[in-house]
């Protein structure tokens, strides 16, 4: 992912700094940059969030929308479960290298990472609750992410945004009733209640994990690598940790080298420490963001607000 070209002197400066526990922006090895979170700004989606990592408006920026859809069950699919499907796209405006097909590999890697974290029972979401009628219909949650800006540490920001979007997701209520058909057999039918006030949150969304990406630089490692640090990273691994401190997924990213096993074990331990702090921070930020979006105080002066005032 090294798009930034650094001189050998700069590379050496960053590497040795990290080995001594110093980083160019004054952070400690396991400190993350500022995070800002905004929720529910896409009115057409069932849930949405935007997460930005970085200082002073410069940073990685990811927008996630969750759209729920009722799908008819077909043979071969699990009978009594819903599904979560993820897709990540890096906007060509985020970096020059993303132009044309330049982002293809990264899109595949991030989509699979998100899928690995959210796409199964390991996500904590109660997939059974997403089933409407077994062997007939179920909910599919489309988690679509758009990476708007890249300044290091995409995976962590992506999972933050996805977690916030899923936590803010509200599904329409579904009424299931049994009806007798012509032959007198009982058939289940369902109705989606079309009332924006009558919606339910996702079950188990509080158990969603957060991801922490570790970048090995020199003989040590850091979390939330900046763009410069990304350019000298030798190996990168993303660890997803649930609020119960279980490890939900581990995936190594593109890199030139591998980890010594001892360092890997150390990283897995640090992952829990970092995730514990991150989850607390997430809770505060998410509460603040939801309060803001509920009161509408954060509404920017967009065209729609102008139309509203006229």
């Amino acid at each position: 992912m090294a798009s930034l070209i650094l001189s050998p002197a700069e590379q050496d400066y960053i590497t040795r700094g990290v080995e001594k526990g110093l980083r160019a922006d004054g952070r400690g090895g396991l400190d993350r940059r500022e995070v800002s979170l905004q929720t529910n700004m896409i009115s057409q989606a069932n849930g949405s969030a935007r997460c930005r990592t970085g200082h002073l408006g410069v940073g990685t920026d990811v927008l996630v929308g969750v759209k729920a859809e009722v799908r008819t069950w077909t043979a071969g699919e699990p009978e009594d479960r819903g599904a979560v499907e993820c897709s990540v796209e890096c906007s060509p405006s985020a970096a020059q290298k993303f132009e044309g097909r330049g982002a293809d590999d990264l899109n595949v890697e991030l989509t699979q990472l998100l899928d690995r974290i959210l796409g199964g029972p390991q996500s904590g979401i109660d997939l059974g609750a997403l089933c409407i009628i077994p062997r007939q219909a179920y909910w599919v949650l489309h988690v679509d992410a758009l990476v708007l800006d890249v300044k290091g540490s995409i995976a962590d920001t992506l999972v933050w945004a996805a977690r916030a979007a899923l936590l803010s997701t509200r599904l329409p209520r579904v009424v299931v009733e049994s009806v007798a058909d012509e032959d007198g057999n009982m058939q289940s039918e369902f109705d989606v209640v079309d009332d924006p006030e009558d919606q339910v949150p996702l079950q188990g969304a509080e158990d969603l994990p957060l991801a922490v990406t570790f970048s090995q630089i020199g003989k040590r490692y850091v979390v939330d690598a900046s763009e410069q640090e990304d350019a000298v990273t030798q190996a990168r691994v993303t660890v997803a940790v649930s609020p119960q401190m279980d490890i939900c997924a581990i995936q190594k990213g593109a890199a030139l080298r591998g980890f010594p096993p001892s360092l890997l074990t150390e990283i897995l331990h640090s992952a829990r420490t970092v995730a514990r702090e991150e989850l607390l921070r997430f809770k505060d930020l998410f509460a603040a963001a939801s309060a803001k979006s509920a009161s509408g105080a954060d509404e920017p002066s967009t065209a729609s607000t102008f139309i509203g005032t006229f």
Binding site: T74, A75, V108, P121, I247, K252, P260, P261
Partner: protein
């Protein structure tokens, strides 16, 4: 119930076809009931057979279009074949380092469930990337500026996804050695599945389907570096720690087998 995409360059069947419903068979049964189906121990990897050069060398001198290096790898019912081309001219002529590219494919009949479409699936693209990430750290790419090394992997038969990826990594690593590409070390990979609180080595498909979590590790024993790690599913931190350790040790055992095969191919 996927719809086959009509392609004039292929012989097309009906627009839609499905697998028949197979009557009550082994499906649903616990694959671990009464030990493992094939009688292996919990930490036992399926028998490995490997041969280098089946695609490049042969009964007589190789032709111009033959691969620079190749390998065939078998682990139980997992069968993988790989051909390596290169170092050959790269697409970027000013690159300081060589580029390692990998293309992973399943043969249409490789999986025990539905026939795979000829169109390259998202999972094949993902696995291609994973293989690149797992094997590239072993190659001295700085020794091949402006060049590219391509690996083409075809799965002839698959039995357990994680095990198939591990087999592909081992196969590529051997094919690279056969092609005479400069490497720090051979990469050996191994997979495990979680069964209750216990890790079970090298799961076959039925075992993998029943396991809530799988772990895949690629390791270079001499350099002592983990070049790839993938955990799919949930496990407690203690289980993960244990898996990293056990899996790394198993990789070392697989590595010994690979090295023996490579030595045998030189004699």
């Amino acid at each position: 119930m996927a719809t086959n995409i009509m392609d004039r360059r292929r012989i097309n069947g009906p627009a839609r076809s499905v697998e028949p419903l197979y009557g009550p068979g082994a499906a649903g049964a616990d694959p671990f009931a009464g030990g493992r189906a094939d009688g292996r121990g919990l930490d036992q990897v399926r028998a490995i057979y490997m041969k280098t050069g089946p695609l490049s060398g042969g009964q007589h001198e190789p032709s111009e279009s033959a691969a620079s290096g190749s390998a065939y790898y078998e682990q139980g019912r997992v069968r993988v074949s790989c051909a390596v081309y290169g170092p050959r001219q790269g697409r970027r002529s000013n690159a300081r380092m060589g580029v390692f590219d990998c293309e992973f494919r399943y043969a249409p009949f490789a999986c025990s469930w539905k026939r795979r479409s000829h169109v390259r699936g998202a999972d094949e693209k993902e696995i291609s990337l994973m293989l690149e990430h797992a094997v590239a750290p072993a190659i001295r790419l700085e020794a091949y500026p402006k060049a590219c090394i391509d690996a083409f992997v075809t799965v002839i038969e698959s039995d357990g996804k994680a095990a198939t990826i591990a087999a592909a990594i081992n196969c590529i690593s051997a094919a690279l050695a056969d092609a005479g590409i400069e490497m720090y070390d051979s990469v050996a990979a191994c997979s495990m599945g979680l069964r209750g609180a216990q890790w079970v080595a090298d799961c076959c498909q039925a075992e993998e389907d029943a396991a809530p979590c799988s772990m895949l590790i690629a390791h270079m024993p001499s350099a002592d570096e983990v070049t790839y790690i993938l955990q799919h599913g949930k496990a407690t931190p203690e289980q993960t720690d244990q898996a990293v350790q056990t899996c790394t040790n198993m990789c070392t055992r697989v590595y010994a087998v690979i090295c023996r095969c490579l030595q045998a191919s030189l004699e």
